[in-house]
């Protein structure tokens, strides 16, 4: 079934999901932030079909999450570079990684997560804070409507 589009949805979660499109997009952003630049390298790393990858890359460029540029080595290849909007998605990627490593891996199992460049260790678990600094637990958070962005 074709997924409904959420363009006009006032829910910021749904609207983000509409732009990132599907899980391929998230994995492409992961790899772009990890230094992958070329179509053939994305393809090899992800194992995605060419047409799927082409569509997703175009969508991410249209959304301003990736931008294209000439190859850094002077060859005729085009490269895909992550923008600030891609970097701003790091909390999403880190949150997905932290939930997965906590819930879907056995203790001691080999596992890949984003790491601190200074010491190659996983980041601290994300904590949710109120504007006044209070740490919020699940019961302190409402999923209800808020007025204006």
């Amino acid at each position: 079934m074709k997924r409904t589009r959420f363009d006009s949805d006032i829910c910021a979660i749904a609207r983000t999901l509409d732009v990132i499109g599907d899980w391929w997009s998230v994995l492409i952003i992961r790899d772009a932030l990890g230094g992958v630049r070329r179509f053939s390298d994305f393809q090899q790393k992800l194992g995605a079909a060419k047409n799927v990858l082409t569509t997703r890359l175009k969508e991410l460029v249209a959304a301003g999450i990736l931008k294209t540029g000439p190859a850094s080595d002077g060859t005729a290849y085009r490269e895909y570079l992550p923008t600030e909007k891609a970097q701003a998605l790091l909390p999403v990627l880190v949150a997905l990684a932290q939930w997965g490593s906590e819930n879907l891996f056995d203790k001691g199992e080999t596992c890949s997560v984003p790491v601190d460049a200074a010491n190659r260790r996983p980041l601290a678990p994300i904590k949710l804070h109120a504007r006044d600094g209070r740490v919020l637990s699940a019961s302190d958070i409402l999923m209800t409507k808020f007025g204006k962005c």
Copy 2:
């Protein structure tokens, strides 16, 4: 095209994506955390086809993210309740909402995001920290492999 499954992938992001399945699952979790309990209410709120919703709810129960129970009002309906694993996905939902409200809404446009129950205000923007407390920017984070979970 059918999405490749990432079960055996050592990347914690990919493995989480494999469990949450698709965007419907994320929206179901959003609504479950927001107090929706019954099939018909999920259906009405999401506008998802019955078969899609049935499949996604089953998957979320199998993954331990939702659990079923008798209706709180004593009727014959079954209810779907979020577990701790669902609550632990709040950082993912909040990160998606914050990116969306920052990048996909006009200033002053009506927008719905998770809010602080104490004052109905949006949460503070998520910051990523190292284990020793340093705030990390995008350039401080590597998407490379880490050894063990």
